[in-house]
């Protein structure tokens, strides 16, 4: 049987791209929230967490309002002759928006575990904030960050509601695995749905196994510290 594999590639490409963007945005936000100064922290925190608690269709609807041809960003894009609605970019945008809260929360949790004195000690020893970030903060919170990355990837991969609102369901272009499953079930192709569900199951299972593996081999120094 001729199963069109394009949903798999689109899904993997979308989830990977979204995860990479999520890592940067999520960690930057978490870093600012825990170690940075300035105002408006609560507001940003709430905004970032929102997609986690809102129904995905609501997220998709809001994104449609923003990126649509009358939306703030949509109008700007229209001026340069671009549009994201119903494009592959839209799948990345929605996947990123729903994955960021997971990355942000886990990274923030990991950063908050770091002893403030150690960071002050590093500064007194002459280290710049960037150096401290790469040399101390990231390595010490690596297990948490890896967990965040895996969760974000899984979430991006499974995104359905917001994607169908903003990106539509265009085979070969914006049709990811969850959309393909929906379409297959709707049109009575149970076998196809089974195959896709199996693939998703496999990917998700690997993600959970990978995450458990990482939590178990958390750095020795972190295990001992908790004693």
């Amino acid at each position: 049987m001729g199963l069109d594999l394009s949903p798999l590639w689109i899904s993997l490409k979308t989830a990977s791209t979204a995860t990479v963007i999520t890592i940067f945005i999520g960690i930057t936000l978490a870093r600012w929230m825990v170690f940075g100064g300035g105002r408006g922290k609560e507001l940003i925190d709430t905004l970032v967490i929102m997609p986690m608690v809102l129904p995905p269709t609501v997220v998709g609807f809001i994104l449609l309002l923003i990126f649509g041809k009358n939306g703030a960003i949509g109008q700007v894009l229209a001026k340069v002759g671009a549009s994201v609605v119903f494009s592959w970019t839209a799948t990345v945008i929605t996947a990123t928006i729903v994955a960021i809260p997971l990355m942000y929360r886990t990274a923030r949790g990991a950063f908050e575990q770091i002893e403030v004195n150690a960071i002050d000690a590093a500064r007194v020893l002459g280290a710049s904030d960037w150096y401290i970030f790469w040399r101390i903060i990231i390595p010490v919170s690596l297990p948490g960050i890896i967990a965040g990355i895996i969760l974000s990837f899984a979430r991006a991969l499974g995104e359905f509601g917001a994607t169908i609102m903003l990106a539509g369901n265009i085979p070969g272009k914006t049709q990811t695995i969850p959309l393909a499953i929906f379409l297959a079930v709707e049109s009575g192709e149970t076998n196809t749905a089974f195959i896709w569900a199996g693939i998703v199951l496999l990917i998700s299972l690997s993600a959970i196994l990978a995450m458990n593996y990482w939590t178990k081999i958390q750095y020795k120094f972190l295990q001992v510290r908790s004693n």
Binding site: N117, A118, D120, R123, V124, L125, G126, F221, L222
Partner: protein, 355 residues
């Protein structure tokens, strides 16, 4: 070698306003928790910025609110040792120590690193992680990490408060050896008065963000200038005084007249006597001797604190006026004696101070 500090910082419910100078001799900062000791150290290190004032280390201005100088933490050349040592958990002993000197040319870096690890006797631990070290080894690593940067001033924030007593004594000794060879200014923050006395030559006593007194440790302990300092240095017997004549004062809280050395009174408002300076005597006719009853005893391993009620005097509402400390052996001798016991407040042990 000197450090001049004159800073103030206002918070909603706490104001820090402190002024002192420290030189090569170790200065102990003594105070209860919340008195602003750590805040003072953090201001000097640059982790916290004061609102006003200045901090000058060996002629170098670290902070001056009027001139708008506020040197970044990284450029202050100050070493700060934390209570729990704050070693970097993901780095080995060697990497921890090298952290502050990574910008030096590799040759000098390795030279200093080897030297410091040898002098701290942690060379054999260089590839271990902090969690694999004992408390003493952690302290030595933290000290080495600080000293290797050759700071002009070392600030220690209650370095022993988290340790068991027997380890504490040993680490304290090691630390004193390090201080002896360190050429810069050392500030040592603690709330333990005995530790403070042992480690420092000069003592600054802090309370509620202000300096109560500052001076040579013996001066502070023998002649505290005010009541709060006397209390913080462990004096239990303090009374307000009223002048009767040239060499007699009335101790208000104890409702008794005391003969004293008139040279020492000056314009003092209070007097005090330390608990181990009260003496039991047989003869009730000696000067400043009062009949007392024992109302309570508190035992420590080698001494006994007796809470004494002065007969026919003293405040009505308390069950004791004086606290006297005697050794266990001495207490065993007197414990069976009938009351009253005669307690003498010797004039030479009385000190005077202001409110």
């Amino acid at each position: 070698m000197d450090l001049v500090v004159d800073i103030r910082k206002d918070y909603k419910d706490f104001n820090l306003k402190i002024e002192f100078q420290a030189s090569k001799e170790t200065m102990g900062i003594l105070g209860a928790s919340g008195s602003g000791k750590s805040m003072t150290l953090r201001s000097i290190a640059g982790i916290v910025s004061p609102d006003q004032g200045r901090i000058v280390l060996n002629g170098r201005t670290l902070f001056d609110s009027e001139k708008g100088i506020n040197l970044p933490v990284q450029e202050r050349r100050v070493g700060l040792l934390f209570q729990n040592y704050a070693l970097f958990p993901n780095l080995t002993v060697k990497e921890n120590i090298a952290f502050g000197i990574r910008k030096l040319p590799s040759r000098e870096r390795l030279c200093r690193l080897g030297e410091k690890m040898a002098s701290m006797q942690i060379g054999h631990l260089q590839d271990k992680y902090p969690y694999q070290l004992s408390g003493g080894e952690q302290q030595r690593t933290a000290l080495a990490r600080t000293l290797v940067t050759e700071p002009e001033c070392i600030l220690l924030d209650e370095p022993f408060s988290a340790l068991d007593n027997h380890i504490r004594a040993q680490l304290e000794k090691e630390l004193l050896d390090v201080f002896a060879s360190f050429k810069g200014v050392t500030l040592f923050v603690t709330h333990n008065l005995e530790e403070c006395y042992r480690v420092s030559k000069n003592i600054l006593v802090m309370d509620e963000g202000k300096a109560l007194s500052c001076g040579c440790r013996d001066e502070i302990f023998l002649n505290p200038p005010n009541v709060k300092t006397a209390r913080l240095t462990g004096c239990k017997n303090i009374s307000a005084i009223g002048r009767i004549n040239a060499d007699t004062v009335k101790a208000e809280e104890w409702s008794c007249n005391l003969e004293v050395d008139e040279q020492k009174i000056a314009d003092s408002t209070h007097l005090g006597i330390r608990e181990h300076h009260l003496t039991l005597v047989d003869d009730g006719k000696l000067p400043n001797t009062f009949p007392c009853r024992l109302s309570r005893v508190v035992e420590t391993p080698f001494s006994v604190t007796c809470f004494l009620k002065m007969e026919g005097r003293g405040g009505m509402n308390q069950d004791y006026e004086l606290q006297m400390e005697v050794s266990k052996e001495d207490f065993a001798v007197v414990r069976g004696r009938p009351f009253p016991w005669y307690v003498q407040i010797k004039p030479e042990h009385i000190f005077f101070m202001k409110e």
